[in-house]
């Protein structure tokens, strides 16, 4: 019997064209993954469940976690999913829009107290960025590799490079689980 496909969770704020995110889903399915899309926490929720819990449960259940950081923070559920993936040390991959690193450097002067702790600074929402918390989200995952991107097609190239070889990912995960 062939192995069940790996389950990958794609977590991102809804941004830009919906069809960009749809393409990501179907490319991964084309590479034989079972895909759970969490666009702004948009995941199936049981009747008596809390939507946030359902999203975090999805993080627990997935084999691989893929986070996309657009210059958009949204409601904060995506940020919680990111934190959960880090907390559970899920095999994870992140890609961040180039504006995020730029904003991080530019805004650092306003964001921290003298003891380097985060103060309450935030910006007024604009058409290019709705909240500085996007930078916090980025900082929370930045300890590991985050690939920068500018165009949507660059996300696709990243997917292609990282996930094309389903079998190789499976072996890695099995080895990791056996450690």
């Amino acid at each position: 019997m062939p192995d069940a496909p790996l389950q990958i969770m794609v977590s991102s704020t809804v941004y830009g064209s919906e069809s960009d995110l749809d393409q990501i889903k179907y490319i991964l399915e084309g590479y034989d993954y079972d895909v759970v899309m969490s666009k702004e926490g948009n995941i199936y929720v049981g009747i008596d469940d809390d939507p946030e819990d359902a999203c975090l449960k999805a993080v627990e259940d997935c084999d691989l976690f893929f986070g996309i950081i657009f210059p958009r923070y949204g409601s904060g559920i995506t940020h919680k999913e990111f934190k959960k993936a880090v907390e559970l040390n899920k095999p994870r991959f992140f890609i961040a829009h180039q504006y995020i690193e730029y904003t991080r450097k530019l805004m650092a002067q306003f964001m921290y107290n003298e003891d380097k702790t985060r103060n309450g600074f935030d910006i007024q929402p604009t058409s290019v960025l709705d909240s500085i918390k996007v930078v916090d989200m980025y900082n929370d995952v930045r300890a590991k590799w985050v690939q920068p991107f500018f165009k949507t097609s660059e996300i696709q190239v990243f997917l292609e490079t990282q996930f094309r070889d389903h079998e190789r990912r499976r072996q890695e995960i099995e080895a990791r689980n056996n450690e």
Partner: protein, 498 residues
């Protein structure tokens, strides 16, 4: 090339990587093929063809045309321009569906990515998906997809965007729920991460030249003066693509009109001009949509000379001049701009624009237009049968008017026997009214000409019809109208004896 010739030529080519025949409408099978064509080099599906490549036709073709337009333009992800048309072969009707090669691969239909392999459509393998992703990288270098810095929403002509949305929804090319301008632009990739793209500026800015100076279009009318050629009307158009189209049209109206008109302007009414307006429109549209905008030195011009009209634009045509005269479905130079022009109804026959130009000129009895391409430019020249110019601006209409009147008189004289001079003169006036106002019915012409009772008019119309100058077109008496025939067009377009 008419519909029948086109279909026969497709049948002769046979099924291939870019062509598929189907006997009946099966939406899912068509969706898969169109998706596969988008992921490859474009293509067409012909429906109403039996397994042994015979035209069997389909029933309810017009109903299917609308239904498939709606279905294919909204069920493929990301959305792509899909053109569906009913084509007539003898007494049978077939459906022709066309797409350009896609610019946002991979395309998805019904949850899967499809790929064209020879004559069959298959689900893409991992390797094929990877290839598509790398191909797309090249398309993303398109100038039109780069961000135009400093452009705010108030710099755009919201009315123009709204018109595009309304038209798309009315023609079943867009979902009802994309009515908001920003959502609409975002959906089609013209607004990204808080910025508008160059394509958005070309298409919808109030003043695009402020951000992209090379969007300007020069239009000029050259008179042959006593001592030298001189431009008597020389202007720069600096509106967006849609505004420029209507400005060029107005310019043609002003300088190319051979007869006076009673109705409001309309691109479709062609035969009153020295060159059919539909051919000119297509030529100008092609240039505006497919020109190279990327260099600041890029330009476009429309110049009326005394013996020709030239539409010039910067840009390397992907095709050689000879290939331009055939049907082609290669990826447009500016796919996003082309998509909007399609939604707006300016590109109705994907891959057939140049054929349309040739056909319209031929039907009007004109010499074939000529394309000249270089590595950096495309020039389309319409030779004129009638010499323009020689008179000062404003007198042109009158001069050509007289020419037309005398041609019509001559035609009546030659074809109607045994009529009095007065009747001939009335027939000539009526014919003139039909030339000026095609597509109307007898009561309308009675009103326009004031030549007599409706019964008298009926008699005159019948005489003109018998002479082969006019014909009735339309399925029912209430919806059709009278049009001039090719025979009369030839007479009108003949060079004057002088």
């Amino acid at each position: 090339m008419n519909s029948e010739q086109l279909i026969k030529s497709l049948l002769k080519q046979g099924e291939s990587e870019q062509l598929e025949f189907k006997q009946v409408v099966r939406k899912d099978a068509i969706g898969k093929s169109i998706c596969a064509f988008l992921n490859h080099e474009g293509g067409q599906v012909l429906i109403g063809i039996s397994d042994d490549n015979k035209v069997v036709g389909i029933a309810d073709a017009e109903k299917w045309e609308k239904e498939l337009t709606d279905y294919l333009n909204t069920s493929i992800i990301p959305e792509a321009p899909v053109m569906v048309s009913v084509e007539q072969v003898g007494k049978k009707e077939v459906l022709l569906i066309k797409v350009w090669a896609g610019s946002k691969q991979p395309y998805i239909f019904d949850g899967s990515i499809y790929f064209r392999k020879g004559q069959s459509t298959v689900k893409a393998t991992s390797q094929q998906i990877s290839d598509l992703i790398h191909n797309r990288q090249k398309d993303e270098l398109h100038w039109e997809r780069q961000l135009a810095l400093g452009v705010e929403l108030e710099d755009l002509d919201i009315h123009e965007i709204q018109k595009t949305i309304d038209r798309s929804i009315n023609e079943s090319k867009l979902d009802e729920n994309k009515r908001n301008p920003i959502d609409f632009l975002t959906h089609f990739g013209l607004f990204q991460n808080g910025h508008f793209t160059n394509a958005a500026v070309v298409l919808f800015a109030k003043n695009p030249a402020r951000f992209i100076p090379q969007t300007r279009v020069r239009v000029a009318f050259l008179e042959k003066g006593k001592t030298a050629d001189e431009f008597v009307d020389d202007r720069i158009l600096d509106g967006n693509l849609f505004k420029n189209i209507s400005a060029v049209q107005d310019f043609f109206e002003k300088h190319l009109r051979t007869t006076r008109k009673f109705t409001e302007k309309d691109w479709e009414r062609q035969d009153e001009y020295v060159v059919p307006m539909s051919a000119l429109r297509e030529g100008v549209m092609n240039a505006l949509v497919h020109r190279d905008y990327s260099l600041s030195s890029a330009s476009m011009s429309v110049i009326i000379y005394s013996d020709r009209i030239e539409v010039f634009n910067s840009g390397k045509s992907p095709l050689k001049a000879a290939e331009l005269q055939k049907s082609h479905l290669s990826l447009p130079v500016n796919p996003d701009i082309a998509h909007m022009a399609f939604l707006r109804g300016f590109i109705e026959k994907i891959g057939r624009g140049t054929i349309k130009i040739m056909d319209a000129c031929k039907a009007a009895g004109l010499k074939a237009p000529k394309w000249t391409t270089t590595d950096t430019s495309v020039k389309l020249a319409f030779p004129l049968n009638v010499k323009l110019g020689g008179a000062v601006d404003g007198a042109v209409d009158g001069a050509t008017d007289d020419t037309l009147a005398s041609k019509l008189d001559g035609a009546i004289d030659g074809a109607i026997d045994g009529a009095t001079k007065s009747t001939k003169s009335k027939l000539s006036s009526l014919l003139r009214a039909i030339v000026d106002n095609e597509g109307k019915r007898i009561p309308d012409y009675k009103e326009i000409t004031n030549l007599g009772s409706e019964r008298t008019m009926e008699r005159y119309v019948e005489q003109l019809r018998e002479a082969g100058f006019i014909e009735f077109k339309g399925s029912a008496a209430q919806t059709g109208g009278y049009f001039i025939t090719d025979k009369l067009k030839k007479i009108i377009n003949q060079k004057s004896a002088d």
